[in-house]
């Protein structure tokens, strides 16, 4: 049961994020929701890498032959995903700043409604 706890957290994070994106009307909260989904997915990848009682995958840190290392590949994937997440987050916030300048509001129901 305890071993599955991270997976439950993953699903919970993704659902909370989706709920925030779907039910919140404030653009900043939508951005927060996407960040939550991203954290959930990253946590999922990190959990995949973990083996019981393992150390960080550094060559010099392995003291004996029997030391188990956690999988390094998902760590690399998570890192890449985080980097992409930073770029996406920065871009989204920039656009939110622009939207606020144009409409003076962050309510998703009120932006982009003007006639041309």
């Amino acid at each position: 049961m305890l071993f599955n706890l991270p997976y439950i957290a993953v699903v919970a994070l993704i659902l909370i994020g989706l709920a925030a994106v779907i039910f919140k009307r404030n653009l900043i909260k939508i951005v927060i929701g996407i960040t939550l989904i991203e954290s959930g997915v990253n946590l999922f990848l990190i959990t995949l890498a973990y083996r019981g009682g393992s150390t960080a995958p550094i060559y010099t840190a392995t003291t004996t032959e029997e030391t188990i290392m956690s999988l390094p590949v998902p760590h690399a994937l998570t890192l890449t995903s985080i980097v992409i997440g930073v770029a996406v987050l920065a871009l989204m916030l920039t656009l939110v700043v622009h939207i606020y300048r144009h409409y003076g509001t962050l309510d998703a129901r009120k932006i982009g409604r003007e006639e041309e």
Binding site: I34, V88, M92, L95, G112, E114, E116
Partner: protein
């Protein structure tokens, strides 16, 4: 080094260079831009032209020899490529790369005059080249995670380009919607990749495809992949971002954006037919997974058919109502995507298992109906036609906007009197997109109609009806924008600048060529591509 050696060298390394050269060009552009505007524009065109040259070199080799090329990063092809990042180029990838390169070069040439009066052109060209690199990466890669990375590169660059007119609120709004939609889709795709990695300890598409068992977790991953990629390809009812994005982006970007959408569609094809190839496209009875899953294969096929019909109908109906020219073309583009998905659906829905009695011995056989190959070939063919037709129409719309500064069709009229070449190009696009003979759209739609008719006549009738609706839509545009008397407000309109006409001319020439000689094209280019996507075993054995 002799010329032949140079060509061989370029051919060997072309999968890597096709992605690396636009990437290098993208970051060199701001430095080149310090010299002169014209030098920078020429530099961007040169970079894309060289990339297209490499694409044609690679596609020529792959489509004529019917082979699969792999390129392993950081190592020679020998050794264990499974743990490394790998590019795998089969016929279908090469075919999609040709489409992407045509769109890219038309877009970059078009941008020369179209973006002339805007500031921030350095950043514009950097982002365009980044997007082109991401697009090629998605098409050529053979690694699941790499696919995700390139998907994100494409969508980040595309988002910034959609919101390029930051002085217009709606453009920024469309960019925000696009990045929300695409990042959520991409995150679910990443989740699916994680699920697949947890089961098979591999990220390579061929390795996963080899060992896939269609377990419970695989089904979850498949659903996440299909819905994420379908959203990025703009399938109804997840299409609402597409008219916003296509309608608000500069026309030169919209053309390349079509390529990005098609690259997502390519991902859908690749996931369904290659990664899950043992489930969806295998006819090997010895694999015990195959027979048990025929029901779920058929139901996925019918689901895709229903989505495709919805996409066609809603796209065509909504297009009829629009009065903004670019939004109208965007909805028409949506309808065209439906035709491509229809081929996939028909292919999957026609998979059957039948008991055959030969000499008293009853054996179970899994097979596809004969028409399903035609359906898939037609839909692969239609990818090219849609990209060219819709691309041409968007270029015409951008040209109209450039000379009149009007987006609404209600304020246009009588443009044919001043813009002769543009009118001709629009007519070509009109006939092609609505599937009128003798343009290219007719040939591919004919293949789809006839194969769909054998599965279920009603679907084919709906498809033909949508095609007629599209014709009605564009006749309306032609009448209200080009025909009629000269409007007083548009008295001084001039013909579009030369670079716009060159870009439109390139695409129009290709449309007419494919339209006049469809068989030449289908036999030499489309059929190898369709065969490559249908043959998942070959895709797997090329790596392992």
């Amino acid at each position: 080094m002799s010329i032949e050696e140079l060509f061989n060298f370029l051919l060997d390394h072309s999968p890597a260079l096709i992605v690396a050269i636009p990437l290098l060009g993208a970051f060199l552009t701001p430095l080149v831009g310090k010299i002169n505007d014209k030098v920078r524009n020429a530099f961007a065109i040169l970079v894309v032209a060289f990339t297209s040259f490499l694409v044609f070199l690679l596609a020529n080799d792959i489509l004529t020899n019917n082979t699969i090329r792999t390129y392993v990063f950081g190592a020679e092809n020998a050794g264990s490529p499974i743990v490394r990042i790998l590019f795998e180029v089969d016929g279908f990838s090469a075919y999609m790369a040709i489409i992407a390169s045509i769109l890219a070069i038309a877009g970059v040439i078009y941008a020369w005059s179209h973006m002339k009066e805007h500031t921030g052109q350095d950043k514009f060209y950097t982002l365009v080249l980044l997007m082109i690199a991401g697009m090629f990466g998605m098409i050529l890669t053979g690694d699941m995670f790499n696919f995700f990375v390139f998907l994100e590169i494409t969508s980040i660059a595309a988002c910034a380009l959609i919101a390029f007119y930051t002085n217009k609120g709606k453009a920024v709004d469309a960019g925000f919607k696009y990045i929300v939609i695409s990042s959520i889709g991409a995150l679910f795709i990443l989740f699916a990749i994680g699920i697949l990695y947890s089961q098979y300890n591999a990220l390579n598409m061929a390795v996963i495809a080899d060992s896939i068992t269609f377990s419970f977790l695989d089904k979850i991953a498949l659903v996440l992949l299909i819905s994420g990629l379908a959203m990025k390809a703009g399938i109804v009812p997840m299409h609402m971002w597409l008219p916003d994005a296509y309608g608000r982006a500069p026309a030169s970007v919209t053309v390349i954006l079509i390529g990005a959408t098609q690259a997502s569609l390519y991902g859908l094809f690749r996931m369904v037919f290659s990664v899950y190839g043992n489930v969806f496209s295998s006819i090997d009875v010895t694999k015990d997974t195959v027979i048990n899953t025929i029901n779920s294969v058929n139901s996925v096929g019918w689901m895709l058919i229903i989505l495709a019909i919805l996409t066609m109908l809603i796209g065509a109906l909504m297009a009829l109502k629009q009065s903004n020219l670019k939004r109208l073309i965007a909805f028409a583009a949506l309808a065209e995507v439906g035709y491509m998905l229809l081929g996939v659906g028909v292919r999957l829905a026609s998979k059957v298992s039948q008991d055959i009695t030969i000499a008293g011995e009853t054996t179970t056989q899994v097979a596809f109906q004969g028409y399903s190959a035609t359906a898939l070939t037609g839909s692969v063919f239609h990818i090219m036609n849609d990209a060219l037709d819709i691309g041409l129409l968007f270029l015409v719309a951008g040209a109209i906007y450039l000379v009149t500064k009007e987006t609404s069709l209600n304020k246009l009229g009588g443009l044919a009197r001043n813009m002769k070449y543009t009118t001709v190009f629009f007519l070509i696009g009109l006939f092609a997109v609505s599937g009128m003979p003798p343009m290219n759209g007719f040939a591919s739609k004919l293949m789809i109609y006839q194969s769909t008719f054998q599965l279920n006549p009603i679907i084919a009738i709906v498809a033909i009806l949508c095609s007629i609706l599209l014709l009605a839509v564009f006749v309306k545009v032609f009448h209200s924008a080009f025909l009629g008397p000269k409007l007083p407000s548009l008295k001084d309109v001039k013909e579009a600048p030369k670079s716009l006409l060159i870009a439109m001319g390139i695409i129009a020439c290709i449309i007419i060529f494919i339209g006049l000689f469809p068989n030449l094209f289908v036999e030499n280019i489309v059929t190898p591509a369709a065969n490559a996507i249908m043959d998942s075993a070959k895709y797997i054995t090329a790596v392992i």
